[in-house]
Structure formats: structure tokens, C-alpha cells
Symmetry: C2
Subunit: 511 residues, 2 copies
Amino acid sequence: LCFVGECCCLAETRQNGSNPNIIIMLMDDMGWGDLGVFGQPSKETPNLDRMASEGMLFPNFYTANPLCSPSRAALLTGRLPVRNGFYTTNAHARNAYTPQEIVGGISKDEILIPEMLRKAGYVSKIVGKWHLGHRPQYLPLEHGFDEFFGAPNCHVGPYNKTFRPNIPVYNNSQMVGRYYEDFRINRASGESNLTQLYLEETVKFLRRQAASGERFFLYWAVDATHTPVYASKRFQGKSQRGLYGDAVMELDDSVGVILKELKTLGIAENTFVFFTSDNGAALTSGIQAGSNGPFLCGKETTFEGGMREPGIAWWPGHIKAGQVSYQLANVMDLFTTSLSLAGLPVPNDRAIDGLDLTPVLLNNTIIDRPIFFYRGNEMMAVRVGLYKAHYWTWTNSWEEFKQGVNFCPGEDVAGVTTHTQEEHTMQPLIFHLGRDPGEKYPISVQSLEYQRVLKQITPLVEQHKNSLVPGEPQLNMCDLAVMNWAPPGCEKLGRCLTPPESAPWKCEWPH
Amino acid sequence: LCFVGECCCLAETRQNGSNPNIIIMLMDDMGWGDLGVFGQPSKETPNLDRMASEGMLFPNFYTANPLCSPSRAALLTGRLPVRNGFYTTNAHARNAYTPQEIVGGISKDEILIPEMLRKAGYVSKIVGKWHLGHRPQYLPLEHGFDEFFGAPNCHVGPYNKTFRPNIPVYNNSQMVGRYYEDFRINRASGESNLTQLYLEETVKFLRRQAASGERFFLYWAVDATHTPVYASKRFQGKSQRGLYGDAVMELDDSVGVILKELKTLGIAENTFVFFTSDNGAALTSGIQAGSNGPFLCGKETTFEGGMREPGIAWWPGHIKAGQVSYQLANVMDLFTTSLSLAGLPVPNDRAIDGLDLTPVLLNNTIIDRPIFFYRGNEMMAVRVGLYKAHYWTWTNSWEEFKQGVNFCPGEDVAGVTTHTQEEHTMQPLIFHLGRDPGEKYPISVQSLEYQRVLKQITPLVEQHKNSLVPGEPQLNMCDLAVMNWAPPGCEKLGRCLTPPESAPWKCEWPH
């Protein structure tokens, strides 16, 4: 068995040449219902729909937390945020992430997919949004990636640099500019060529790797569907859905270009591709939000709309075309599955939540396992088979809600979409997601079905809770001094800003 | 030009042998979101999904009224219910239909698809639910069908015969038994072989017609997804969605059998098939209801959930495989399109609301036209392009709602899903269905977009209203004496019941 830091792994991998390249396509705030194949009425994702028809569709694919940073940390570590530190203990059941003020980031004790894959000779690149911490020690090249083109944080403001720095864009270890200054996103029109830049970087990388024959891991974490949503001129006005739809169409087009490039380069049959999103559509964004299809609420919540993600696996010649897998799966499985595909064992010095999906992918088997739905430090819900039990319900606070922040616009299920944190740990709300994917009809606690299901679920939850050792929370402290004032490379560009004095505080996470 | 009752039509039809057989598959209370291809998470309709991939998908297909009888009358006459008489003037904006007490039915002055097709030599059969009146003069064989296997009304109770007769099942002009007595639907288990009976009748018909070479029109109006939902033993427990899903799977299987049979018989390339449903999923049925996907509310309402229907056209060798048409289309188009396919002109002595979809089907062109959303005697809304303007909003009354009758469970859009009839005729609520398919965000009346769209829509609505000549309402009077006490054929079976004395009253339509 291999331990981190040892060099035994490579020797132990399957050396038969069957270990494929790995591409993980992670969308930002894209919803389950944004794909034609998942019922978007405008049917504007022909490339993703084709990817599904050439591969395997996962209608039951989940994230690990209904917010960006924890979801991404979980994907790359194979571990729940409550284990890998991407959560807060400042308050109960709060979604925390990595804005510029955050002091923390991904711990050096965590092992990320590219760190492992390096042991099997893979070259790893991230294109797009990192979101696992922006201070130097947290950047991608410190955590296993060989290359980085993109940004450490979300492409949110300040849009000018009066009060706080704009987010830097990196090429590998050096900042090459900042959003809104050098990398333009027109706030009025939503025009930006960023998706095209990311695509260009990607295609260059694929061609180089194909030429070299070196195995690669590409983490394509594009963010055009995160507010402020953007699209290139060529795609603006193309969608029936407005700018958001234009962004989806541009990303869909990029997926098409990438898959086609893999075929052209002759490496399609040696490249495993998985498409998903970091959390449900951000319904708070109103008319420029994505769609969670028939599911309840969205981003920030542990209802299906916040947690259920599009999932498509593609690997011509290995994954049979046109399949649907009902496997309950999640982003953390991509860690374990990537290792398995690379012939690597998972680290055995820590709890890993991800499952090896290769039997599912190759034989369409079903592996029985629960899915846990976390919000910050709390396990809010669990899914077992077609049933989902909510131990805590919460959308957001009345205070926020009354100010117009609505995670479930147009939706109101009494006793379910609550605006106070409601504890149901003694008697969870249980839904049958087959009959009731919208989580509207809690099963009567008096019913035999409820009793039967509760008996089945309870030991799984107890086992999970009893064995859970929470990691050191990384998202508790904030400090204006840690913002992107002077990222590496700023000197060369003459673009360094002067940070204020350090004055850390406990971050406030309102929901 | 041809007039009804004249014999000129046949001579004028295209005699080149290209006029295909026509099959209209009309589901009962099945929702847009019940098909895998439209995003049902359980993806349990492989045959319909394949039908779509071999044909043309219509994501913008509508009914003419969010309730069964008027929808079916509209489909078969090509005319809005307000024209063909399938509405009530007893109260404003009420959905009326044909329960057993109804005195009226389809007027002899209306011309139905099979009456027209007969002129072109087609043999017509209806299998399943008629719902255009159950009194002798209203039955299918009086309105152009050559054959009838099914029932005149819904398969609702009484379940016993204490208070009122059970619904008869006909074979052509003769009753052959009654639901719950001779044609069993197990109310406890939901088991019934009716869908299989309907399939058997259908396959027999197809084989006979293929052998004879006579052109045919098949109206396959199966009703397993209408409450009380039923499925055959073979399909029970097969779905992830409970009994409702079992029923969907059985119907999907029947679709597969029928399409396969067409291929086996060598008539697939000469048979046009269209699949749709009569109205949106009946969300009042709670956990045994279908799904309207991302759309608002369901059956009985003029929101998208009540009016938008699954639409799939299939005609191998003529309709190119794998297409999506964004055409705004509706059930009345099936009248005009059927006539066009048969080489017949439409009657020119009356207003016809249906459009000839053949250019859409054969060339994927888009024809600009509005879609009107009626509830009883009121035009509630109109769709023009991607915009929809609501002139009236109403779900149901507070009285009903407080008794638990909910047409929009879990959904509540302030000022939209109203429980009083709200008039907006001077300033309609306008939605952009591309950006906002769920009708959650009315466009601000102050916006330029609103003003522009209103200017575009207003003349279309005025033209429609000004030229509209309502037909004689057929659904105003009820009478216990007209129920199915003694249907034709009951004597032979010794199954006649004695009707009470006639005592007509004005039917009450609560919503």
C-alpha cells in the first residue's frame, strides 16, 4: 500500500497502458435542469446531450455541499468538507466559502487528485476557478497541479479598485492581470471572452499532451454561469434564455470542441471525461439564474435543487453509449474514481468519502450507499435508495428573507422550506424522491413505510456520525489584509497594491 | 374547394400515394415532465425517448384548455372549445367537461378529423377514452369513427352501482361491459389490464389495416395515468415513481410495441405518429400525480403546467431523426395537419384554429403564430414568441383551496397563482418563457421590454377577440337521467339500469 510522500505508487499501478487521461468538467452554479437532456425546455445544449448519448447519464449525482468552495474542496480531496476543513464553526449549519477576506484555504495535510495522479505520472492542469484559498500557500501549484490558468476566487467585484483589489488571473505561479482591469467582463452587456480564453488554454494543453504522450489530468472549472454571468460576443443573444442561456450555450459549445479535439487527436478512447457542476442553480439571482428542473430550491440549501447536479460520464470504447445509471453518486467519487482509473490506491491514513465508480461506469452495476447532505458543520439530510431524510431544514433566516434574499423563489412547502433552523433529528422528514422528486409530500410518520425507512436509515446515520472526526475548520477567520493586494507576479506588472494592517475577525456567514 | 357533405374532396386530394396513415397518441393527465426526454429524473420512458430521437421533439406544444373534454374536442375539431361548444357560460372562466350528468356533447355541426379523413378513404378507430359526450348521438361512431373500443367517460367511480351507473365500455356501437364490474381496476392495488386490452385492440387493428392496405386513422386515447391510476401486474412495482410511474412505463412500453409493429408490418414510413397529452399533470392528485417539469401549477390552470404538453412527431423517412422544433404548436394543429397529410383542404365554412404543421415537420421551419390559453369562456392568456401575457389569473377559489384542493402544491408566486379571479386586461402580466419558464418573474410594466411586447401582443389579442364567434355552449346543463343507465347493447347483456326521471339543472363548475 502507498502512503502520501512515498514513491511506491507508480510501481504498483496498472502498467498495462489502460490508465486513461482524466478530464473533470466542473460548472459553476449550473443547475441540473440547465441541460436539454435533463429537461431544459429550450434544449440548447446539443453537445452535452450528445455527450450523454455517447456515454452514461447520472440523474442521481450530487455535490457535497450546496456552495462552491466546499464542493470543490470535496471533489478534489474525496472528502466531505466537514473532514477536509472547508466549513465553519462560527455558527450552526452555515455555508462558508473563500471570499478574498478569508484567511484559510486548503490544508497542506489534504491530498488532492493531482497530488495522487502525479505518482502515476500524470501532468495536471487547472483551467478556470480554483476557490480553495487565494493566499500563496493555498494556490493550485502548491497542491499538486503542474499548471494553472485562471483565478483563485470568484469573478465577483469590486469591479473597480477603490476599496478592495480585483481578483487576479494567474498563468501558473504568476499573476498576469486582474478581472475587470485586464480580463474584461462588461458588466452592462455581460460580454467577456473568458470562456474562449479558457478553451484556448485547454485545447493547447490537450494538443501538447497528445503530442508528448504524457498522461494528463485536466480540471476544467469554468465559471461563466456564476453571477455576474458572461458570454462571448459570438454567443450573445443566441439563447432563448437570455444571457444566462448564452453562457450555457458557450460552455456547451466548449464541451463540443473539447470532445471533438480528443477525437481528432486520437485520444478519445484513452480519455475519461466527467461533466458536473459545483452546486445547484443560484435561484437568488432571479431571472439570470439557472434551472434546477423539478427540484426544490437551489444553491445554499440541502434540498435537491441545491445538491443534485448534472452528471455525464464519457469514455468512448469503455463506457457503453446511451446508458443511464441510477447510482447515487457525488463529486467525491470523482477523487476515488480518478485514482482507480490511474491504477492508484486511495490514501489509507484518512477517511475517504468517495466511491470508486468504475464498476458502475464499465458494467452499470449499482453500489448501495448513502449520500450525506451537509451545510457547514451540520449533516442536514441523508439519501438512502429513493428515500431522503431531513434531520434539519433551513433555507435562510427571516431577516434575510424579508430583505428579498430568496433561495426558493415561487416555492413554499409548509414545514419544509423553513426560515428558522428546524431540528427533526428525533423524527426526520422523509421523502420518496422517486414519487416526489420535488420534496413536497413528507411521508406520514404514522405510516409503516416511514417506520421501515427510518429503521433502515437510522443505523447508517449513527454510524456516519459516530465515526466522523471533523477536520480543523478553515473558514472561520477573515482579514482584509489577506486579500489579493499583491499576488505573486504583481511586481513585474507593476500592479501591486498595499494591504491594510492585519485585523482578523470571525467571518460572518449569514446562511 | 370542398364543403362538408360534398363528395369532391377525394378527387382533389394528392393521389400520389404519399398520404400516410395517421396515429394520434393522446395521454390522459400526463405531464410535460413525465418523459425522460423532458427531464423526468427517473428516465423511465425509453421508447418515447427513442421515438423523439427518431423523430421531432416539440418542447412548445400546448393543449387548448387545461381539462380533458375541451382539450379532446379541440384536437378532433381543430377549433378552440369556445368555438366548438366545449365550454360553459354558467360562470366565468370555469373548466367544464363531460361527467355522466352532462346533457350535452359534441355538436353534429362540428366536423371531426375522422369525418374528414373518411372522404380520403381512411378507416378510423378510437381506442380508449372518448369524452365528447356519452349520450347515443354523441358517441364516436356518430362522428366519423368507424370503430370504437373504449369508454365514453373517465374511468372514475362510482366503483359500485348503488347510486349511479358505472361507466360502460364499448366495442363499436355496443356496450360490452362496465368498469369495475366487467373491466376491472383494482382500487386497492391499482392493478388493471386495460392498457394491455387497448394495446391488443390496437395491434389487431394495425395488422388488419396493413393487410388490407386501406389507409387508417388511429386515435389512441389511453387513460391509465388519469386517476384512479392503473397498471398491469407485469408493470406494477417496476417504476421508481410508484403506481403512477408504473402506468407511464406501461404506456411507454405500448408506444414501443406500436412503433415496432409499424416497422414489422412495413408501414412505418407510411405512418405519421404524434404523441401528446390532453392537459398538464393533475397536481391535485398529490403523490400519484405526474410531473410538469419546471412549469408552474398543473391541470385546470392556464399556467404552463396546465397547458404545456409533451409533443413528439414520428414518421421515418419523412421527418428527419433527432430534431427539435421550437414551433409554438397545439392539439388543434393535429386536425389541420392530419387533413394536410391526407391531402384534404380544411373546411372553409368555419373558423379553424389549427395550423398545418407539415412545413415544420418536413423542413423544420417556424411559423409565427400566437397561442391562446382558454379556461371556459375566457381567454386567460396568450403566448407570442417567447412571451406570455396573462389577462386573467386564477388557480381556484379560496373556499376550495382551504378545503385542500391545490392546483399548485408547493408553489406560490405572489400575484400570479391567485385564488380570486384577477383581471389584468388593461395591464397583462407578461413573462419571458425562455428566461423564466416557471412564470415567476413578471416583467416590470415600466420596462421598455414590457411596452414593446405589449404593443406586439395587443393587436393579436384584439383581432382574436373581435373575430371570435363563440359556439353554443354544450356543457351548461346536467341531468341524472342522462347518465349511462342503459347504453346501447345493455339489453343483450341484461345490464340495463332504470334511469330516474329527468330533472335538469345548471351544472356547477367549481373551478
